[in-house]
């Protein structure tokens, strides 16, 4: 058993550095490297769609990483300039964080609007329930209109009362 296990373990150990060597860019500072990392994680691969260019092995992602590195180090471009450069060529699609504009308004604020709508519904339902649960005892709390409506309902024939 040992005879098989040892080479196996060795091969595992060997494969780790091979994977890390996919591309090695040298950065002057750790901050620069973090910035690069963050950028390529926020950029989406145009070819492989649901991957960012950091994770993708598609040739285009390799090119985009190289270009991002070059723009950062040689041209000293800001993050915004780099993203703009790519958006100009590949469209908003390359951004995992789409800009807030007319087309993306629903995307950005739709969930909050729905949440607000749901909350409003909840409030309405709760208020109504509460009103209903007061029952005949709380007669005093009914307004004139409500009392009238109650009388009407009570005087209605049975078959339509449950509709």
């Amino acid at each position: 058993m040992r005879k098989i296990l040892l080479p196996l373990l060795c091969s595992l150990w060997l494969s780790a550095p091979a994977m890390a060597a996919i591309d090695t860019y040298e950065f002057e500072t750790q901050a620069e490297q973090d910035r690069y990392r963050k950028l390529i994680e926020e950029l989406r691969c145009p070819k492989c769609q649901n991957q960012n260019i950091a994770d993708s092995n598609a040739p285009i992602s390799l090119d985009l990483r190289e270009e991002t590195f070059r723009m950062m180090t040689e041209e000293k471009m800001t993050d915004e300039q780099i993203v703009d450069f790519l958006v100009e060529r590949y469209g908003d699609f390359v951004r995992y964080k789409p800009p807030v504009d007319k087309r993306t308004l629903v995307l950005w604020y739709g969930p909050f609007a729905l949440l607000g709508f749901g909350f409003l519904m909840l409030v309405i339902i709760v208020v109504r329930r509460r009103k209903d649960s007061h029952g005949p005892d709380s007669k005093a709390s009914l307004s004139g209109d409500e009392q009238q409506r109650l009388n009407e309902l009570l005087n209605q024939p049975r078959e339509s009362a449950d509709k």
Partner: protein
């Protein structure tokens, strides 16, 4: 049923219907088809050698003067081989096609043109894919239609065949031919 309840039910039904419509619409929508960011923008400037002629520099100006197709191709791309015959046919019909040999090896590309016939007016060599990047190319083949002023009017990703040409590209191209 009270009015409010009826309204609530209607709202929920409308929501469900909307969601269903979106899902069905989404099924017919190819997510790999990206809207080109360069549509209605000028073809990018470049200055790169012609394929097989390192001394002859081609620029954007060489593409101007008449509506034309610009095809991004490479020998490593099987779909390019598939569409090549159709480009031969289009070229024979008089459609000018400019080629961009994208991230390829020159000798392989030249052999390909000898073996499969050369439908291109001229070919720009783009071994590092820099022109490709300026064009927003993310995989060959991609085919652009430019007008006589060099403005990009259409982009298609994938193999151009009879159906694609007749349904999508010919109307744009023929529209540009009219004065």
């Amino acid at each position: 049923m009270s009015k409010a309840r009826l309204l609530a039910v209607c709202l929920v039904l409308a929501g469900v219907a909307g969601f269903a419509w979106m899902s069905i619409y989404g099924l017919h929508n190819d997510p790999r088809e990206l809207p080109s960011a360069l549509l209605d923008k000028p073809f990018p400037e470049f200055s790169q050698p012609a394929l097989g002629e390192p001394e002859r520099l081609l620029t954007r100006n060489d593409f101007l003067g008449r509506p034309a197709l610009v095809n991004v191709w490479a020998t490593w791309c099987p779909t390019c081989r598939q569409e090549h015959a159709y480009f031969n046919k289009l070229a024979a019909q008089g459609v000018p096609i400019y080629g961009i040999n994208y991230k390829d090896e020159e000798d392989k590309a030249q052999k390909w043109l000898l073996d499969l016939k050369d439908p291109y007016v001229m070919n720009v060599s783009d071994p590092r894919g820099s022109l490709g990047m300026n064009l927003g190319v993310y995989g060959a083949p991609e085919t652009f239609i430019i007008d006589s002023e060099g403005v990009i009017r259409f982009k298609y990703v994938g193999a151009v065949d009879d159906r694609v040409w007749k349904e999508k590209m010919a109307p744009v191209y023929e529209g540009l031919l009219k004065p």
